[in-house]
Every structure is written in structure tokens, then in C-alpha cells.
Symmetry: C2
């Protein structure tokens, strides 16, 4: 199979209690691709500006960048954020959409043909436009609080057309107005998808389908350096494994969890870029060990 | 074996989004005993006033109340609280310590002889005085943010003398000043105990020893009516199972989790009072199913 991801490619300026980076490769599509590329051929669809100089990192592990659109005269999406002492809160100091502002994704034929499509967090109308171009048999998506607030109807319409929704638990609650996570997930299932994944940050993640509930803790780390991209890295591991083993949701949750745990150990893409499959599998075994009841 | 618990016996006035009770049986020792009594003989040590009229509920499943001290002319501990819409926040409207204010626990010989002792949340000096009377081979304890704030040195001294600390994850962070849960738990282990349990509310609980990390999600409930006593009920299930199977921490975590999940389904002690062992075991099996990786 192959996996197409549509979303942001960015430069991030990030400060955490453990250090800072002035300008590092980031963006949802980037983090997703670096994780999913362990499992299958990944195709990235997203815009970059004249300042983009990290195509080689995007291409790691065979990722195809034919649909990375270079917008002449444009500037790559830029985000500047700072995390609080416990890494659970963050302030955004600056967001420059750059080429992302007028992004109209155009999928090449090979990207349309990928069996799996991941719609990273972008405006839900745009997500739907991509979904309509794609011939994927399994479509997963992310979103964020902003779209729940200003484009809820469009978001619900997008959700109706996908198989799998991956959101933070707070976003699921906000989307449905239901404080109970289980009830909120069931409401999202009723909108159309067959799988809902609730990301719970340091607590792990839960998966809800019509017939199944599964919960997995985060991998216990003593050192978390930078949470940026953890959610997209989780999605890359989760969706990536599903490309290899359709329907094997539990192991997919473990791969998402393991990949995300590596991601946060260093800044940006630094750790996952040089990660090995053997390291991932070792962490999967550790996850089995720490959850065995 | 047998289990002695020292702590509050109370009347609670509670309002949640799902209803209210003007005056219901509560208190840490009560909730602990009702859960632990499924596993072993429990002995309750705590004070009540002239107004106490629920001794029969305390005695359910063979719990011994010889050391429940009736203070003539006194009033039973009373707490009045109200929970917010998502049950994660609560306001205390009134606390009347009553007979609990001058409580000096006196353990009878049989209570001193119990192999297991649970020090529910009380002033840490008092916990230590109890610990010194006891001849238990395994001592577990709870505490709260108040004692971390106003009696930290005494609390650390108490922790040094027990085998197992059961705290909310926020309390572990507060106690150690470490935002990372894993690091915080290891700091508490360094104070003396061999087991630290971090209660994580709706997210479940984690257990940390020198050699082991184990994490278990909460049992997924669509209906949570009243969280009052969930932590003490968890402790009762956890410590109760350890009385029956010393060192079997993982299954103990499952029993704590299962008992707590029943506790929150109705107000106060209502659900656990009429619970059956078969219902608990069914939920243990469900916990195994939803965590199997």
C-alpha cells in the first residue's frame, strides 16, 4: 500500500524548559511522514516557500515529495511557541501562514491512488476537497479547537466522510459538548467514522469503535524535551501500521505511542529522523510489558 | 490476614450535575472498608459523634467496628461539596471536623495485629502515631495537598515509615516539585517506600517500584454520577487484594480500578454497598480485555 498525507510543512521556533531552537523543521505533514515512513511508502502533499531547505529530511526512508509544492516568492509556514514548566501549556508567540494561507492541495495521480489518506490539521473545507480527489480506501483525519470554534459545520461534514478521527480528548469534548470521553467518542462515531482515537497527552490514548474500547498509556519517559509534533507523530505511527496491517488497531496504537515517545525526547524531528525500526520494536515490547495485566 | 484502616467516617452533603444528597455516609475509612471487605477481614479505626446512625453499613461483609470510637456529645465529621459540569473540579462549601478535630487513634490489640495497615488521609503526625502502634508487615498511606502545603516535613517523615504511597498524580508533583510523573514517583521511592501508586482520575492509575512500571486506564464509564470516595475505594480494592495476594501489584491495581468504577456510578457508598464479588470479577475481565495489547 501507500500513504498520502496532506498538511503543513513548517519551520518552528520553539522554547521549552530544556532549551530552544531558532528555526527547526516542523509541520504536521513532516512529523506524520517521518513516522509513517517506517511502515510504507509515504507521499507528502503540502506547500513550501523559497526559504525551504530541508527536502532531504522529508525524503528520509523513501518518502515521495513529488507533490510538495514550491510556491515561488512564498515563505514557508512559520510557528513560534513556548512551553510552560510542565510542558502541558504552551503560548503561541507568532504564526506566519506564508504559502499555507492560499494552499489549494492538488494531488498527483499517484497520491490520489494511495490506499491510505491522512488529512492533517487544516481548514476542514480544504480537507474535504482533498478527500474528494483521493481514491483511498481508508481515510483518517486530525483537526483542532480553532476549527471547532469557527467552522464546526464544515468540520462535521468532513468527519462524515472519513473512516477515522484522531483528536485530543479535550477537542472531542469541545466538538460534542459531552464531558464524558466515552460518550463524546460515541457521538463522533455517529457522525460517520468507524474509529475514533482520543489522544490524552502524557496519559496516553484511547480507541473507540462500535464494538471495541482500547486504552494505552503513554510510554513512561523521565525526559521530555519538546512535545511539538507528538500528535502528528502518533498519527504517523498509527496510520502507518494500519497501512501494513489493516484493522490491527491495537498494535497501531502501540506504534503511534512508541513513535510519539521518541519524538518528544528531542527537539522537532531530531530524534525520529535518526530512529531505527529496531528501536521502535523494542519500545513496543516495553509497552506490552508495562500494560500486561 | 486482616486489614486495619484508620481515617475519617463522615456524613457528606454532595451536589453533582446528576443530583444531590443532603446527608450520606462517607469518609475515607468508610469507602476504603467497603471496598477492602471483599478481600479480607477489615477493622475500622475512626471517631463518630452522637449523630452517627450507619454502623450497620460499616459492618457489611464482616468489617469489625470495635475500634470505631463513639465520642459522647460529639458530632460526626461533615463535608459539603459540589462538583462542576465535567466532575473534574469541586468546591468545598463547608467542612465541620467535629469529633475528628481531636481524634487520637487508639488501636485495640487486634487492630494492631492486622498484617496490613492503611493510613487514610489524616494529619501526618497522627498517621505516624498510628503506624507506631501497629505491628503490620505492610503499610500503605494516602495524603492530600493540604498536608503537603502546611506539614510537608512531617509528611515526608511519615512516608519514610511506610511501604506504599497512594497519591493523586498532581499531589506527587506538588510533593516533589517535579513535573514529570515518573521522576516524581522515583523521588518518593527514594524517601523510603517500595511502591508508589499515582492515581490519575479519569485516566486511570500508574504504579512505580524500583524495578517495575505499570499503567492501567480507568474503566470506561458513560455515566459517572459522583466521584466522592473514588480514591479511597481504589485504595480499598488495591490494598485489599494485596492482603490476599502479597506483592501481586498489577491485579491489585485492577481491583482498585474496578471498585472505584463502581463507586462513582452512584452517590456515596450506594453502589459498593450492594456490590457482589461476581460483578467485580466481571469488570476485572473487562479491564483485561480493554488493555490487551
Amino acid at each position: 500500500m501507500s500513504v498520502t498525507v496532506v498538511g503543513s510543512i513548517a519551520y518552528d521556533r520553539v522554547k521549552t524548559p530544556f532549551g530552544e531552537r531558532e528555526r527547526m523543521l516542523g509541520g504536521a505533514a513532516t512529523h506524520f511522514a517521518l513516522a509513517a515512513s517506517f511502515f510504507d511508502q509515504v507521499r507528502v502533499v503540502g506547500p513550501v516557500g523559497d526559504d525551504f531547505a530541508d527536502l532531504e529530511t522529508l525524503k528520509l526512508r523513501g518518502t515521495n515529495v513529488d507533490d510538495v509544492e514550491h510556491v515561488p516568492g512564498g515563505k514557508t509556514f512559520f510557528w513560534h511557541g513556548e512551553y510552560g514548566w510542565d510542558l502541558n501549556s504552551r503560548d503561541t508567540h507568532d504564526t506566519q501562514l506564508g504559502v499555507f494561507e492560499t494552499f489549494e492541495p492538488k494531488l498527483g495521480e499517484a497520491s490520489k491512488d494511495a490506499e491510505i489518506l491522512f488529512l492533517a490539521n487544516i481548514q476542514p473545507d480544504v480537507q474535504r476537497a482533498v478527500r474528494e480527489q483521493s481514491r483511498a480506501s481508508f481515510v483518517a483525519m486530525d483537526s483542532m479547537n480553532l476549527w471547532i470554534e469557527i467552522a464546526r459545520d464544515s468540520l462535521v461534514q468532513t468527519i462524515a466522510g472519513v473512516d477515522c478521527v484522531i483528536l485530543n480528548d479535550a477537542e472531542l469534548r469541545q466538538l460534542t459538548g459531552k464531558p464524558n470521553l466515552f460518550t463524546a467518542a460515541r457521538e463522533v462515531l455517529a457522525m460517520g467514522p468507524s474509529v475514533v482515537v482520543a489522544k490524552q497527552g502524557e496519559y496516553g490514548a484511547a480507541l473507540v469503535t462500535e464494538s471495541e474500547f482500547f486504552s494505552l498509556p503513554a510510554y513512561p519517559l523521565e525526559t521530555v524535551v519538546d512535545p511539538t509534533g507528538a500528535g502528528d507523530t502518533f498519527a504517523g505511527g498509527f496510520v502507518g501500521h494500519l497501512a501494513r496491517r489493516p484493522g490491527d488497531y491495537r498494535t497501531a496504537m502501540a506504534y503511534g505511542t512508541a513513535l510519539a515517545s521518541f519524538n518528544v525526547e528531542e527537539f522537532g524531528t531530531e530524534r525520529v529522523a535518526r530512529l531505527t525500526a529496531a528501536e521502535i520494536d523494542r519500545r513496543i515490547e516495553e509497552l506490552r510489558a508495562i500494560t500486561r495485566l
